[in-house]
Point group: D3
Chain length 249, copies 6
């Protein structure tokens, strides 16, 4: 089974890390293909970056579908382009915030989110509402550090992240913690042990959910909300994205 | 006061109609400028078209902001790109579904939406939830006709639309009706009289809301959710959209 | 266009201030008429005062409707009598809490309310729920000062108010602040600058919303919830309020 | 124990009927005193009538409190004046819609409301939301008959009411039915038997709830929402309603 | 009227205390019978204990129904087995958390819960949601003391409980406090006086609600959700619990 | 990886069918062990049967945990005993309604449930609320046929089921259908094709979700809600279920 993991920003090194994390948990028969668009922002922080990552992301999904991918993962914690991606495929499409929240809802009755940039707090709160987990969510904690700092061993970021976890665990008494940002994925195991509760990282859960749905032959419903796009002309630089043929990717 | 109305599809004739509707209700001192992107879909029906209309829409908002626009309207009933547009300006940005629903909430306690393509019903229901009007909304009725048919005097569309209104008025007893699609805007006055309750068309309400906010010096908050985009490189065809300078449009 | 602003308490000096604030933002063609009932409480703090302000308020709305008013504003932050006022007119009727919350929902995704007397916190929370903004509302902060103290330059009230704003901005990270009480209206501009986020005062937003609806010929729906009162006898001191004639004001 | 039942309209014959219904279910030690204001509407249908019934209702509650009443019932299905009445007493105050909905929530998981005039549907839906029963409520059915017709044996009203019950039982499968209007109270027993499910009439449940709370020494909390009114002057015909003395009734 | 109070744990001394509390508030004509199962946990703390208390609890309800009980109370703050008990009787069945929350909703607009073991916080939050009081509930405070410690005069428990009340009253400004655990019932009167707001103990409210419903001839609806169990074989140690005869207890 | 599937009723033939369905979708390295208690009801329809299936179900989970099971599935659409089972293991525990609803939320934005006995409709609606999918759920359709009839080729049940699907698809326009009862699981593939939208059967999705969580080393959080039961004596027939040793299974 081929699963396409789309890192929607254009930073290839990050795509490589996400691919490694995904491959580490995939079933033996699963082939993980990780890509990123070549147009768009180098990282995604906020609504503006989201808007410009989506066309490239969709293009990757379409190419993946043409190439036989049986499942798709959107590897950015804001889950950008999820609905558009779903509309052009009959395969499952999973966002990593979506995967993390579903997982948290299965291992406990409540979660808190840490590591989210202040400007993305409203986005994550909105995703919790959209997916149905607004009551499970005890809060989304605005991080005082930048995501990139987490990769710098000399930065203070890990210490600040742990301090945030300690605080939300004590104040909100959540059953689990979600790492609200793709960059801190590799830390989930160690943090689970340190804090003695599930610390959830969306990428690996998204791999398992996608494998599961695809393995059962379940994909995106075409019945109503995700009906295939209608054939129509597109103009300008997007002309080649028109789905003129059949109305369905 | 300059208000920029962005028709996010690339059909210039529709932009003209929207401009005329907007100008007809603007206060004397308001200058309505109506534009559309030159890249993207010729009409917007569903998530895929939405994804590809947003970059062009954002570009128009940026150009408008540079040109001194003091308010922005997104003239498509799915309110695409609303959050991204808000993040790049301190002026108000209003979507026409948003304007219609706020208006309906001020003239009565409940509304029903008609004229929405089946594939957009989930989008409109989601907007009602996002804006806080899920309890006001008695239902979103999937139209059996195409939007373009409304412009064809020989088509059955008007008859079908009226039949839908009659049914939702009788079954759901809403206080008002929202026309869930930009194409049927011109009909609101006549339908209000025929059905003896407010029939609401988002374009004109959006003009008044935008004038109101801008007139008071109120615009998009930059405090948290709509903080200006961070400066960072963009690649490929979107390279020129990077906001490298100051982090703020 | 004549807009009647009803201050529902009987303190004429407050009516004058509200009138001045309203006139300062009205469009040139708008005539602001500000009145207050001559029966009822001198200020409105809590449910008891509300109950006794409503008959006089309704009487003013009726007189205003007879005198040709095309829009009505209820200038008390509890929005007393809103539904009853709506039932006797086909013109728009807007409450100032309603106007403030709708405005906050258009300039950001969340708001906090400050300056509300402790006994009115439940009322404001309930209005947020009624209007659909319970998720936008990050909290209603009970003020430790009296509303009248705000008008006394020697009092500590302004300092306490600013301290409350500072706290809710830091704790709840709202996109905007609503001043939860008519008495502090004049401060909104200065506070917006000081705290660098929109600080919203319902009176002026109510003027613009009312002008907007009336300008579009939109008013209160008579279809279901706000159907005109039925003709019937009234007894005692309210005998003259019976709408015996036509069932409609 | 003295319980004051306030019929908030001015129709004395209706007060008598309500008193008889209340007495029929009261415990032996309970004295039911039934009153109605002498100012206000002869019946309450919609927001306008509600506004004008409240001052007289509050006056009756105050007189009752002075006379030693230990509990209060507001005998109109719109529960008008409930909050104001609660603010002036430490005794319990119960509305009949409130009593009916609480009872329905204790005898089953869902209810439907019948017998409500079309103009009051929004009010009853709002009460369900306010009291927390919006998920229990399967719907509020707008009656096609007038309340007074129920008292006319030659009218069609009973037949129409039963037809509505039959329909909502079949369509919504509620566990119980609430009679949404004081006038049809006497019918609940017979309808329960005919339709083989609890048919709930708020007046008698309100008596039992009030006896229960008062019997336990539980009354309206004065801590926050229902703090006693502040002492202040009232003007005009309401001058005598000022609570100038102590700030507490 | 016979009311059966079932203490669902097997600790007879606790049954005796609950019986005494219930008898102290019952009307003269009410006979309180208090029982506990002889199989199951000695106290109920968490989901596991709940699961094993329910069969014995149901057995007691069945025996009570056979013996002519006209009302049932489940005297554990988690309200275990409420739905199953309701399905086998036409009499009312009330849980003590349910009774406490309904009461709190009648004496104020908000409540906080104290005295709940940390592991039961999710249960109480879920009951608030189920009963419709999630907006009334300002929070469920996890107690730092064990329930049994409350009975030990030398323990620190009372001091810790009061400290929790002081904190939630100051932070959440609730209108009332609910004691979230059967063991602290006897303290409600004294705490009400000390903190000057209603402190609610579910046992006594449950007695009054049950008397009220039974007194009106109102019981559990058999229409849909609580239809009588279907006749079918049961195996193993539960064989004698099969309701083979008529399908209805 | 060993996964224990517990059919909570005592009908061994049904356990066999469920085992076969589970094995058909399990990954090669997964060992499916299917069991049922030997005490309790032969089938589960309603709250009473649920109450008596839970102790046996918990016993099977404990034995499974002792035997090294790394994941647990509760194979009854009411998800009985889910919380209690979670409290005694650090492995994942999944209910089949839970699995079905999570799956439906990933393949579309809305679902309808068919095949549910009338008495279980409230249960399924409540599960949707508990899991967070009350907005996704377009309705739970009460079946007019018995579950067992589905296994009788001469019965009308399949025809009635299809007629229900046809109706809910047309009226509610859901993106997918959930089969609300374990007995009709085998039909999902064929129905998906016939109705051209995902028809979801909880058993197989539960297998994949359990494999996924267990494969990632994620299990039930012990932090708050599902903390291990406290050690304490149990009496009577349940004495051996006391967890006296360590407080943790």
């Amino acid at each position: 089974m081929k699963i396409l993991v789309v890192n929607p920003n254009t930073t290839r090194s990050m795509t490589g890390k996400i691919a490694a994390a995904a491959r580490a948990v995939a079933w033996p028969g699963t082939e993980i293909i990780a890509v990123n668009p070549d147009m768009g922002p180098v990282s995604i922080e906020g609504y503006y970056d989201e808007a410009f990552c989506v066309p490239g992301l969709i293009e990757e999904v379409r190419k993946g579908a043409d190439g036989g991918a049986e499942g798709f993962i959107i590897a950015c914690f804001d889950d950008p382009g999820l609905d558009a991606a779903r509309s052009i495929t009959t395969a499952p499409v999973i966002g990593i915030a979506e995967a993390a929240m579903h997982t948290a809802a299965l291992v406990g009755r409540s979660f808190s989110v840490v590591g989210t940039p202040a400007r993305a707090v409203a986005t994550i709160e909105h995703l919790a509402l959209r997916y149905g987990f607004e009551r499970h969510c005890r809060g989304v904690c605005a991080a005082e550090f930048s995501v990139l700092a987490l990769e710098d061993p000399k930065s203070d970021a890990i210490r600040l992240l742990k301090s945030d976890i300690r605080r939300v665990v004590s104040e909100g008494r959540p059953d689990s913690i979600i790492l609200g940002c793709a960059g801190i994925a590799g830390l989930s195991k160690a943090l689970s042990h340190e804090f003695d509760l599930p610390v959830i990282d969306g990428v690996i859960e998204a791999v398992k959910l996608t494998e599961s749905l695809a393995g059962l032959g379940l994909g995106t419903s075409k019945a109503n909300s995700y009906a295939p796009p209608l054939p129509k002309p597109y103009t300008g630089i997007f002309a080649r994205h028109a789905l003129l043929g059949s109305g369905e990717a």
